[in-house]
Symmetry: C2
Subunit: 659 residues, 2 copies
């Protein structure tokens, strides 16, 4: 099969943004380059960013009146595609256009857009997103930087009370940023109104730090060393009243505070909610990185030979070994599943920003989905790239083969834009409160009280609506295990849904019991934390499977559909294999059935092994971007053209390391 | 409790070697330093190696007549302790003294010892261990470099036929090595006699490459960039007949080949077997790295606060969250288990090299144990350090906190000194052939035929001998599940042993069936590969648990014993939790029991949380070596001394990255 047929299905609605980005990635200046020192890497990333600023991708998501295209979906998809290449460039562009530009766009009003957006888009104004503090990363609502309004001067004073409140890990801060969107507790007329965002200059046009601003370099990191992360302190830095990004709150010259959203917590989460694009972007980048890692490891596994079976003329290629298939192919299947989950997430994000009819509950569900898919896809990328490295042995450890940098660069994806564990708690919180209006007002522990009152059946119905396709598949499943095919899609869906429902009901019951017994709410929550996280994971697993099923249903190419069905089988069954202990404990799998699932995963691996090359080629990662020699014929050339060394000139000394 | 009481038990028999190495590690020149360029890193590692050469550790394992102490156990333990510090230095020292020096010692005879050992020990002769080729990493027996004897000149000609046969990933090759132990197929009088080792000069005293030798740099790697890995080609390089390390085979001036071991394969594995120390060393280093990672993450988890529960005055420390305990404490318990497994392995290694009564079967069992423990401990280190990095969030991503480099440096441990998957197959091969004499003659696929004939009960009896302690614990277990305490040690032992036996019997039966049915042996093997690997894992799990139990039994400090018992419970139960799907499938756990195990893991985490600091302090990693500011009070200082920034001078620009 021509991989382009499969690619077409994968590229989907925003194929143009993908193709456009692939085109730009052909530029050798944008290719990943390892072994640079930190300063060299930063310099190169900056130059790459300037090149990128001249392309269409970064601007796609901005409003047309400022030269953008108002295409959020395209913008996120372009970002996702950029992740095939240099990941420092990716993250640096995410800081500039996603976080800095996005905050101005979503939290500011027209005066801010007029003043800053074009400069942010063109990179004339390099900026930072100064939210995280050393003392508060996950619990952003408790940030301690202050912004105190002084009616006398009509200005805000931004201040860092101590090292706990210094801004930390801020991209673009150590070297390039000139302005920062600073998140701080707004104080006016003696009252604190919670976290708000302010436009604060940090360097002048010559790059000198502004008065009252102190910046420190975060230094070398595991990866992403082209990104200049830094720490920022503000010592009574004065900014005009207009520096407040005032879409959700404003302060009058006399110091009167007003906001359309009365409750501080709710306002805060509404503000943060507009920034959901960052999480969606990281999730997409993780999926792309997993694709690139698998493309390298699978291509190598298809040509690398080791050990000759008896009676065979040649050694066997690695991917013919069952264990090698088991290491790579289920991960590939889940990467496909997450691709379609990501696509569905992007579509929902796009709708949120382009449709007027997007309600608050839908927004909450989008945020929850983004959190869950981000946690799942970034952990998946971390595990998958690690496995790919190991599957390539010593060659995988060499930087030239890219897996090393890919692993190091993507490692922090599980942490930034929300720690994965905290994000899964957010997902569970949404489920347990049915995304009700008061959702945003609740802290993690208050959720218990709400959850205890819920009618869980209604909740489940609302989060897993009876979609025609899924329901009809589930309803067609025979009533007993022995009559059900292992590859019956309805069977998979039913098992996934049953698990979500069962775990969620269990958690809710446990909460209710704890509250009824008068236990300390935190103790109840903490004792159930593993249970709560399991509920979130079961939910996301179900949603990911359903989006995969729906994507296959939309496919009009029969042969592609057949192949996707097999990939979906492997994805679903390998998840069931992973979780079979749970299903056995809960009487939903018999022992024999559980063993049969293991055998079926093996069988599917063997069937998909024949299509492995096609499956990674369909990701359409340009070869110059994939770059790893082991994935691009080096191994085959070496084997096929075993050249005599005799007669070749011996090179003196040793070759220098790559520049 | 004073951590030194626990430390004493951990330090064990080779406490002196540990203390000695800890002492040397205090030297600031030996401390890890990140952010160096490749050439700088190599230069620094070389200087560190020179400093290390002046200490006692590297020489411990060499014979007394050359200035060593003949203490193999001490030597490996010193190496293990060195792994708390700079891992490039560790690996470079392993190449010089373990691989290069070890090969001369074990494969050479007196003339080689006299000529080379002192220079290798003093670092006057930096050397390489040139075994792996680009085309053959795991399958070393198929190396293709040739060493052809020419009676006319009384010399061997070393030749690299093509790029497939170039030596690859060779430590010390790209920059410092002057001589290499080269593994090549020995040809004489028109006959090939298999792989042998030869002393081959590769650079002269000025560092110029020798004629006929070509060396290429492997370039930047994921980690260990202080080690100069390179590729070497030999173009008809002539070396004297005495260059053959001739402990196991010699060639007479007329070209006559003779060896005390007739069979080529058996001779090869006997030679390779003498090098088992390398695997034991890597395994020890992995355990130490896991300890260092956990010491950092747990110390941080004990002071880092995030989210304030209702009605609490302060935010909670991370390690009070159940999920944080679950991420770190079972990994800590397994690190303890692997510590004692490593200690037992080292003791066995020491005995092999110092006792005359060490038979071939015992040697095979030692190699198998080394392979299994190495695979288990290196994967454990990789997973644990990854988890520690994530558990420290953004701070864990900064090089200054060491987890980033630790992860990158140790990543290749799962690959070098034997790919872990291949090693587990070796373990299974030993089990399935009962380490019989013909063990070494069999290739992986022939094993099937042997296994099919075995009386598996006898095999199991011989590999799991009825040791008094283990047997008596198992015999005291009540006959039914409901009467058995979850923390009954005999219960754990019995479940682990039952699993090993059941899986191994299953594999043997499957092999037999396949052979009886006349199936292609490779197909039978490959279809069962996951099953074969499971057998190896189950075996190692059982052995690790038993060595832990025996170590606790030897402890004479009642309070320490009580604590170790709890750690052992957590280790055993978390393995059972991981594998509960299997136990449920095989009717060895009821559903209720399986759920109870999960609860018990939670309970043990909560109990051990109180001792977490003690448990990592007992590793006695010097603070200057641990080095990570987040583990050494930085976080606490920041929280306790929330200093006003006001009045502090703003530093200009940004601080430069660390040198």
């Amino acid at each position: 099969m021509d991989p382009r047929r499969l690619q077409e299905v994968l590229d989907g609605r925003w194929a143009e943004a993908r193709e456009d980005t692939r085109e730009h990635l052909l530029n050798p200046e944008l290719h990943p380059l390892s072994g640079l020192g930190v300063e060299e890497a930063r310099e190169r990333t900056w130059r790459q960013l300037e090149l990128l600023a001249k392309t269409r991708g970064p601007l796609l998501g901005f409003p047309t009146r400022y030269g953008g295209e108002g295409d959020v979906g395209g913008s996120v998809t372009a970002f996702e595609t950029l992740a095939f290449g240099d990941l420092s460039l990716l993250v640096k562009s995410g800081v500039q256009w996603g976080l800095f530009g996005g905050a101005i766009l979503h939290l500011g009003t027209e005066k801010h857009h007029e003043r800053y957006l074009r400069a942010a888009m063109s990179l004339d104004l390099p900026g930072c997103f100064a939210m995280t503090e050393t003392g508060h990363g996950s619990d952003v609502q408790s940030l301690r930087t202050t912004a105190t309004f002084d009616p006398g001067s009509d200005r805000f004073v931004i201040d860092t009370p101590d090292d706990d409140a210094r801004k930390d890990y801020i991209g673009n801060a150590a070297r390039d940023g000139r302005m920062a969107v600073v998140f701080a507790q707004l104080m006016t007329a003696g009252t604190e109104h919670g976290v708000h965002a302010f436009m604060v200059p940090i360097r002048d046009e010559e790059g000198a730090t502004c008065p009252g601003v102190r910046i420190e370099d975060c230094g070398t990191k595991a990866g992403l060393n082209g990104v200049d992360n830094g720490r920022i302190w503000f010592d009574q830095v004065s900014v005009p009243r207009e520096a407040l990004l005032d879409r959700y709150a404003s302060v009058a010259p006399d110091g009167t505070y007003s906001s359309p959203i009365e409750n501080d917590t709710r306002r805060f989460f509404t503000m943060v909610g507009t920034l959901v694009q960052g999480r969606v972007s990281v999730s997409g980048a993780a999926v792309s990185s997993a694709k690139a890692g698998l493309a390298i490891a699978i291509r190598y596994g298809l040509v690398r030979r080791q050990f000759r079976p008896p009676d065979e003329p040649r050694e066997l290629v690695l991917l013919d070994y069952r264990q090698h298939q088991r290491r790579l192919l289920p991960a590939l299947a889940t990467t496909y599943a997450l691709h379609f989950a990501q696509e569905a997430l992007v579509a929902r994000l796009h709708e949120a920003f382009t449709s007027d009819a997007y309600g608050e509950r839908q927004q909450r569900m989008l945020e929850s989905l983004a959190a869950g898919v981000k946690a799942t896809s970034t952990w998946h990328a971390t595990h998958t790239i690690q496995t790919c490295r190991e599957a390539c042995g010593g060659a995988g450890y060499l930087s030239v083969n890219r897996l090393a940098d890919m692993k190091a660069d993507t490692d922090v994806f599980t942490t930034f834009e929300g720690d994965n564990t905290v994000l899964l708690q957010l997902v569970a919180k949404g489920l347990l409160t049915d995304y009700r209006d008061e959702f945003v007002d609740l802290n993690t522990f208050d959720v218990l009280r709400v959850a205890a009152d819920l009618v869980i059946d209604q909740v489940l119905e609302s989060i897993a609506p009876a979609r025609q396709l899924v329901r009809s598949l589930i309803e067609a499943v025979p009533g007993n295990e022995s009559d059900t095919e292992l590859r019956d899609r309805g069977y998979h869906l039913e098992l996934f849904e049953w698990r979500e429902r069962h775990v969620l009901e269990g958690v809710a019951r446990r909460m209710k019991r704890g509250i009824d017994e008068g236990s300390d709410p935190f103790e109840v929550f903490n004792a159930a934390q593993d249970h709560v996280l399991l509920a979130a994971q079961a939910h996301i697993d179900r949603v990911v499977l359903e989006t995969f099923v729906e994507a296959i249903d939309r496919c009009r190419d029969a042969e592609v559909t057949e192949l996707l069905d097999k990939i979906c089988d492997l994805h679903a069954l390998s998840i069931l294999e992973r979780d079979r202990g749970w299903y056995l404990e809960h009487g939903r799998l018999s022992a024999g059935r559980s063993k049969a699932i293991i055998s079926e995963v093996n069988a599917l691996c063997a069937e998909l092994r024949e299509h492995a090359e096609l499956l990674v080629d369909a990701f359409a990662i340009p070869e110059v971007v994939l770059a790893a020699p082991i994935a691009l014929g080096e191994e085959l050339t070496r084997q096929d053209g075993k050249r005599p060394v005799k007669g070749e000139a011996a090179l003196p000394g040793f070759a220098p390391p790559p520049p």
